[in-house]
Structure formats: structure tokens, C-alpha cells
């Protein structure tokens, strides 16, 4: 039968934890720098504005002509982007000055200009008062979900696990945002939903590893923490990879065949699954050592057990 991960792997993840931690910290810093330098490419849900999806009747649309026409309306920096078979076009207008009513005026101007040559397939208009609310609700959603999970895990595990899981998830959120920023992907309500789903997925993954660590803690009372964590990660490695793969395949199918409307969501999910899987293997567990769970707490203990793990890993 198909075996992605051989039985009884003994990969010394903890020995490399300084390396993986450095990688994570570098990526986090890079994200923050990119955030400062490039900013998030917010979609109209959060900035307000218009989005109009049209299909040219009879063959590919003339994008440059369309750009000229829309540009001539003087509605700010309009984006005109073709997709699909070439006859589909997405037009984005920035928020118009003059409040909620002005957005409607702009929409109608574009509609009039497009005339009968285009079929209007989708319009979205978000006024300034709504976009402000959506921004606020989005931030609340992320914080509330992390808070609730923190409380739940606190009840189920020791506090180090709860903090570790939340920090790992925060790490995943920031890195996912990093990818969105660096590729300057549109960040809209869908992307936010994807980020929240990643919160769920990444926690799910982390909790499975933590669950095994907790079990091992009861079973091997004397084993040094790094060694115990390595054991637990290796025991759950096959599951972690299998689940990541099945979920990844399902989302990949959506990304490739699911159409344009959900592309942003699916891409964010794909990135999030990769980051979530990476972090549940090499970020979440070492976090427990930093948070001084059990024996690994003293520096000598860590050093000693690291040596032991190293010795074990050597063939």
C-alpha cells in the first residue's frame, strides 16, 4: 500500500529547531517589512468602491480600448483586467469621493458606457460606511476566534499548550498575509474567510500533535522534553502529511476548476494549508520548550537531551 511516510521515522526535528525558528522569524520579519513597504492590496470590501464583471458578447474583449473608455470617465484609478477565455473582464473602481450615493453614480456611468456590447455578470458596490464596518468586523473575527480557541485549549490542556497553539496560529496568519502581500493579491472578505478557515485548520493540526505530546508525557514520565516531542511528532507525521494532502487536493481541485469567483479564497487556503502543516511540525511543538513545559525547562536539560537525541539520530 501507498506509504508516503515510512514507519518509525526518527527525524530529529528538535535538533533543527534553532534553524526552523530562525527561518520562521526571518519570514515573519520579511512579512512585517513587506507590509510596511508594499501594504495590503485591499479589495473593495475593505476600501469601498465598485467591482463590475462583464462578458464581451461575441469573442475576446478589447482591453486597451476598454481601459481608454473607462479611464475617460475620470473615476480615479480604474483597473481593467481580463480573465477566463478572454471575453471576461473585471473592472474595479476605487471609492468615489462624495459618500455612499456617489458609488452608485459611478456604477451607472460605467454601465451606460459599456452599453449593449457587454453582458453585466456581476456588480458589487461597497460604500464607505459599510467598508469601515467590514474592516472592523474582520479584525474582531480574527481576534475573537483566537481568544475562544485559547480558552477552549486552556480547559483541555495545560496553559503552555494553549499559548503555544495560539502563537503558532498567529504565526500562520501572519505568514499567509505575507504571501498575500508579497504577491499583492487582492485581500477581500473571501480572503478573510480563508484566513479564518486556516485558523481552524492550523489549530486542528497543532492540536493533534499536542494531543500526542500530552499522551507521551503521561506515558514516559522521565523522558526529556525534546526527545519526547520528537517522538510525538514522528508518530503523528504520517497523519499530518496525509490530512494535509487530502485537504490540499480538495482545495486544489477548487482552485483549478472552481471558477474565478473563489480563486482568491482557494489560493489563500492552499498557502495556508502548506504553512499550517509546516508550523504544526516544526513550530508548535518547540514552542512548548520555550514556554518551559516540564523537564526541558532548564537550559542544561535541553542541552543534555539534545545531545541524546542527536546520538539517537546518528545511524
Amino acid at each position: 500500500m501507498l506509504r508516503l511516510i515510512p514507519d518509525d521515522t526518527k527525524i530529529p526535528f528538535m535538533r533543527w529547531r534553532s534553524v526552523t525558528f530562525t527561518i520562521s522569524v526571518c519570514l515573519l520579519v520579511l512579512t512585517v517589512l513587506a507590509w510596511g513597504a508594499m501594504g495590503i492590496n485591499y479589495g473593495i470590501d475593505f476600501t469601498g468602491g465598485n467591482l463590475i464583471e462583464v462578458r464581451h458578447k461575441g469573442g475576446p474583449a478589447d482591453l486597451s480600448e476598454l481601459r481608454k473608455v473607462i479611464g475617460g470617465l475620470e473615476l480615479g484609478e480604474a483597473q481593467v483586467q481580463g480573465f477566463g477565455q478572454g471575453d471576461d473582464v473585471m473592472i474595479r473602481l476605487p471609492e468615489q469621493p462624495g459618500g455612499d450615493a456617489a458609488q452608485q453614480v459611478a456604477l451607472n456611468k460605467v454601465k451606460d458606457k459599456l452599453g449593449d456590447a457587454y453582458e453585466i455578470r456581476r456588480t458589487e458596490v461597497v460604500g464607505p460606511s459599510v467598508s469601515a464596518d467590514l474592516r472592523r468586523d474582520g479584525a474582531i473575527a480574527v481576534v475573537v476566534s483566537l481568544g475562544l480557541v485559547l480558552i477552549y485549549l486552556w480547559f483541555r490542556f495545560e496553559w503552555q499548550f494553549a499559548i503555544g497553539a495560539v502563537l503558532t496560529t498567529a504565526h500562520d496568519i501572519v505568514l499567509t498575509m505575507g504571501v498575500i502581500i508579497i504577491f499583492q493579491l487582492q485581500f477581500d472578505l473571501q480572503s478573510l474567510a480563508a484566513v479564518l478557515t486556516i485558523v481552524g485548520y492550523s489549530l486542528n493540526d497543532t492540536v493533534v500533535v499536542y494531543d500526542r505530546i500530552r499522551e507521551s508525557l503521561r506515558k514516559y514520565k522521565k523522558m526529556p522534553l525534546p526527545e519526547l516531542i520528537d517522538l510525538s511528532i514522528n508518530q503523528t507525521l504520517s497523519r499530518t502529511i496525509c490530512t494535509a494532502l487530502t485537504t490540499f487536493m480538495a482545495v486544489l481541485a477548487l482552485f483549478v476548476f472552481g471558477g474565478e469567483a473563489l480563486r482568491g479564497f482557494n489560493f489563500t487556503m492552499l498557502v495556508g494549508i502548506l504553512i499550517g502543516t509546516y508550523s504544526s511540525i516544526v513550530v508548535s511543538a518547540p514552542m512548548l520548550i520555550f514556554l518551559k513545559l516540564r523537564t526541558g525547562g532548564s537550559p542544561e536539560g535541553v542541552a543534555k537531551s539534545d545531545a541524546a537525541a542527536a546520538a539517537k539520530a546518528r545511524p
Binding site: 455578470r121 458596490v125 460606511s129 482545495v251 477548487l254
Partner: protein, 533 residues
């Protein structure tokens, strides 16, 4: 863990069959379903606006305009009560939320105080006790000077009432468009969410939603450019006609009659000019007033004003006693129809602004369904192949459970009458990936226990027992994220949260109980020495 009583087996199988049964209506047309006996489940999933096409419009009550209106009414009230009792005043003016007036005669201050305090209205229901909520306060900062301020509580109450009344009016208007299952609901303190599925002409919908449609009848003093130069009076005002070049008309500010007294309005054709007109009928009291006024004013013009635009200012040729009339004002058939619709449904109590609009054409919706189906099937097949390749026979069990899980998700969506949106399809695809996770957890555990030297039955038993704790924790964390998405998300995002949550909860039953049953029956029948993992 591997023992199932006969009754338990029957119960589990029955639940699975019920899941399939409640999904089936979605595969048939509504006509076929209508012909079936009533005990057959016939509820279908509702497709979201993004899948069947339609409009999602959020309207906001224009609070500043409402406040301005209230202040103006208050100023008129102050003028009215002071005049009624011949109390001399000066400097009547208004600020943001207050009106100020100075009484000129010292001796009348007391009388004015009583009169002005009489304007205070209690808005709370005090039938069963409780503190009254006044809509305004009356202060006298210095002798003779009165300041009447609208209270925040009073204004909030007005906004709330305006939203409630607007919802009623909008419902009547949208119902007349003849679309199926429109939904109109309050959102937050001052917003109204209108969702109309399957609508083609969204521009018309928006026009119908936004138009206040306040119809009033006024006597006309004069018309033409000359009225702009005449002396201004607080009793009259200048409005413009809706002609291509608007003509100013000087009308009496006080309305003789309003649209509230209409009982019916229809679009018809005028017998003289065969142009589109709107005919209307007053209720009894309206008809009487109209009769009296028209008798007294034969030969004089009057104005029919819609939302502060004069749409017609005919001369009364003879007394109109029947209580019905016609409005002609450069209408097309469509606009006459719409005006009749608006008059029947009544006027909006406040100005509404569109703050959010999302419309999807039916073509895009159909494309999205097709793409979503294709993607879900491909994703599902990939997962199925992977599971069989990795876990063989037990993988097949997991796949059966996963497919039942998809049925359950559809069954619950159908019987709740919940909405399936495009992100909802993504939720289903995602829960396909995640549903097998529970089985992966169990099988990996069984495999591990077997390697530690346990017998097949013992390994399966321990594997299931140990994995359940992990599955509970991991599913609950996902559920928390889904719950937050549901409570803080809007529209389609909620649809995603719902399917993800349903898939998550039902996967607990399918991946754990249903799979365990299949494994148990297999073990009982074949008594394997080793689990083929």
C-alpha cells in the same frame, strides 16, 4: 468498541438512509416533487444569490436627513402653537438638533412655557409603568428665551421606527415585483438588507427601493420664472416641474391631501391623449376633502407633488366628487407602472441610501454551479483514490463514510431550508478533505498499535478509542472558527461557515460511528488475524 447491538446497527443504518432520503429532493424538479405524496421529504436547498443570480442590496436610513426633518417639523410646530395663542415671538431659528425662539412680551412667557412644554411627546410605552422617554427637552437659558432640543433617545426611537416602517413599505413594493422569495431584514441599527433572487433588472429594483414616493397635493399660487423674484413667505415654497426644462412653481407649503389617503393606484392610458397615466382613488375621508377643495377652487391650478417635484399642475375645471383622479406627467408605460406600484405600497418614512450592492447575473450563477460541481467531484475522486491507495479496504470504508457525510450535509441544508452559496460549495469540498482526516487519525493509530504487537481486534479497538479524544479536540477547534465566521460574517461567507460546520459535526458521526460499524461487521464476518494497513 467493536460490539454493536442489533438495534444500534438498525438505528445507524436508518440515520444514514434518512440522510440520503432528505438529499434526494434536490435531484428532482419542483414539479415532480409537487406530485409526490405529502409524507415524502420534498424540501430542497435554497441556492444563494451568487448561484442563482439576484440582487443583494443594503440600504441605510439617512439619519442626518431624518434629524434635519425633525428639526424642521419642530420649528413649524413652535411657530404654529405660538401663533395659535397670539404669543409674540422673534428670532425663531434652528441649529443642529435644537430650535430657539425669543418671546417678545414678558407677560406671555408663562403661557408660552405651557404651550411649548405641551409639544413634548412621550415615546415609550408607559401603560405598565416604566420611565417615559421624551422626544425633546424645553429649556429657558434666560428669561424669554426658549431652547427646544431633540433628545438622543427620541432620535434613536425615530430611526428605529423609520427602519421598521421602511421594511414594511419595501416588502409591499418588492412583493409586487412578483419575484420568488425575496428577503427583507433589518441589519444593525439603521440598515435594511434586501435580497431578491433571480432578478434580471437590478436598476429597476434599486429605483423602486430608493424612491421615497411621498405624494402630496398643494394649491398653486403662481408659476413661471417670475415666482423666483417675488417676496418670500413661510407659507409658500418654490418647487420645480419634471419637464425637460424644469419650470418653477410657487405652491402652498401646507398639503391639502397626501398619498396616505389613497386606496388604489393603477397605470392606465388617458382617453384623450392615449398617453400613459396613473389613475388613483382616495379613501372616504380623502374623497370628501378632495371634493370640498375642488368645489371651492374651480378654475385655480393645483399641484401634484412627488418627492418635492411637481409632476403635474392641472387647473381644476369642475368639482371632483367621485374621489378618483388621474396623474399625467410625461410617463412611459414602465414609469407609470412603477409610480402606481409605489403609490399602492406607500411612502418611505425616510430617505434611504444604498450602501452596499452585490448583484449576480443568472449566467454567472449557472457557470459557478457547474464549476463548483466539477471541482467538488474532482476533489472528491482524488481523495477517494488516495484513501484506497493508502488504506486499502479500510480506505474504502472511509470513502463510504465520507460520501454519506456529503449526503448528510446536503440533507441538513435541505431540511433547514438553508442557503447554499458558492463559498458554501467550497465548504463542502473542504469538509470532504477534512472528513477523511478523522479516519486517517484512526487508521494511523490502528497501524501503530498493530506494530506494537497487538492483535487485529485489539489494535482496532485501541485505535478507535485513543483517536476519538484527538478527533474531538481537533474538530471542536475547527468548529469554533466556523462559529466565529458565522456570527461575524455576512451573506455568502455565512454560507461557507454553515456548510463547514455541518460537515464537521456530521463527520464525527460518519467517520467515527459509521466507519466503526463497517469495520466491526467486517471483523465479525472475516475474523482477520491482521488489519491490512
Amino acid at each position: 468498541m467493536l460490539y454493536f447491538s442489533r438495534w444500534k446497527i438498525i438505528a445507524i443504518v436508518a440515520v444514514c438512509l434518512a440522510g440520503i432520503l432528505f438529499t434526494l429532493p434536490n435531484f428532482f424538479s419542483r414539479e415532480t416533487l409537487a406530485g409526490l405524496p405529502s409524507w415524502v421529504p420534498a424540501r430542497q436547498m435554497t441556492l444563494g444569490l451568487d448561484l442563482q443570480g439576484g440582487a443583494h442590496v443594503v440600504l441605510e436610513v439617512d439619519t442626518p436627513a431624518l434629524v434635519k426633518d425633525r428639526v424642521e417639523i419642530l420649528r413649524d410646530d413652535v411657530r404654529r402653537v405660538l401663533r395659535e395663542d397670539r404669543i409674540g415671538y422673534t428670532g425663531l431659528g434652528s441649529q443642529q438638533t435644537s430650535v430657539q425662539v425669543r418671546i417678545t412680551d414678558q407677560n406671555q412667557i408663562e403661557k408660552a412655557t405651557t404651550k411649548l412644554n405641551g409639544l413634548i411627546q412621550n415615546l415609550a410605552d408607559t401603560t405598565f409603568g416604566g420611565k417615559p422617554v421624551n422626544d425633546l427637552t424645553v429649556e429657558a437659558p434666560e428669561p424669554g428665551l426658549f431652547r427646544l432640543t431633540l433628545t438622543q433617545a427620541g432620535l434613536d426611537h425615530r430611526v428605529r421606527r423609520a427602519v421598521e416602517q421602511s421594511i414594511e413599505v419595501i416588502r409591499r413594493r418588492v412583493d409586487q415585483l412578483g419575484t420568488t422569495e425575496p428577503s427583507i431584514a433589518r441589519q444593525g441599527a439603521n440598515r435594511i438588507l434586501v435580497q431578491v433572487p433571480g432578478l434580471q433588472d437590478t436598476d429597476r429594483l434599486k429605483a423602486i427601493l430608493q424612491q421615497t414616493a411621498r405624494l402630496t397635493f398643494h394649491m398653486v399660487e403662481d408659476r413661471g420664472p417670475s415666482v423666483l423674484e417675488g417676496a418670500k413667505s413661510s407659507d409658500t415654497e418654490v418647487l420645480y416641474t419634471n419637464d425637460p426644462t424644469p419650470v418653477p412653481v410657487l405652491i402652498q407649503r401646507r398639503a391639502m391631501l397626501t398619498g396616505e389617503e389613497l386606496v388604489d393606484a393603477q397605470a392606465t392610458f388617458s382617453q384623450q391623449s392615449s398617453e400613459a397615466v396613473v389613475s388613483f382613488r382616495f379613501n372616504t375621508s380623502g374623497a370628501q376633502k378632495f371634493a370640498t377643495i375642488s368645489q371651492q377652487n374651480v378654475g385655480r391650478p393645483f399641484a401634484i407633488v412627488l418627492d418635492r417635484t411637481v409632476i403635474s399642475d392641472p387647473v381644476i375645471r369642475e368639482p371632483i366628487l367621485g374621489g378618483s383622479g388621474q396623474i399625467s406627467g410625461n410617463f412611459t408605460v414602465q414609469s407609470a407602472n412603477d409610480l402606481a406600484l409605489l403609490l399602492r405600497a406607500g411612502a418611505l418614512p425616510a430617505t434611504l441610501t444604498i450602501v452596499e450592492e452585490r448583484t449576480v447575473g443568472p449566467g454567472l450563477g449557472a457557470d459557478s454551479i457547474a464549476a463548483g460541481k466539477l471541482a467538488t467531484v474532482i476533489g472528491g475522486v482524488a481523495v477517494i483514490v488516495f484513501m484506497v491507495a493508502s488504506y486499502g479496504l479500510l480506505g474504502i470504508f472511509a470513502n463510504v463514510a465520507m460520501i454519506i457525510n456529503v449526503f448528510f450535509t446536503f440533507a441538513i441544508l435541505s431540511s433547514l431550508g438553508a442557503t447554499l452559496s458558492l463559498p458554501g460549495i467550497a465548504g463542502i469540498a473542504l469538509s470532504i478533505g477534512m472528513a477523511v482526516d478523522a479516519n486517517v487519525l484512526i487508521y494511523e493509530r490502528v497501524r501503530e498499535e498493530q506494530r506494537l504487537g497487538r492483535s487485529a481486534i485489539s489494535a482496532i479497538d485501541t485505535g478507535f478509542t485513543r483517536a476519538i479524544g484527538t478527533i474531538t479536540d481537533s474538530n471542536l477547534t475547527t468548529l469554533i472558527a466556523a462559529a466565529v465566521l458565522f456570527f461575524l460574517g455576512t451573506g455568502p461567507i455565512r454560507g461557507f461557515a454553515v456548510t463547514l460546520a455541518i460537515g464537521n459535526i456530521t463527520s464525527f458521526f460518519t467517520a467515527v460511528t459509521v466507519t466503526r460499524l463497517m469495520v466491526a461487521l467486517w471483523v465479525r464476518h472475516y475474523r482477520p488475524a491482521r488489519v491490512p494497513l
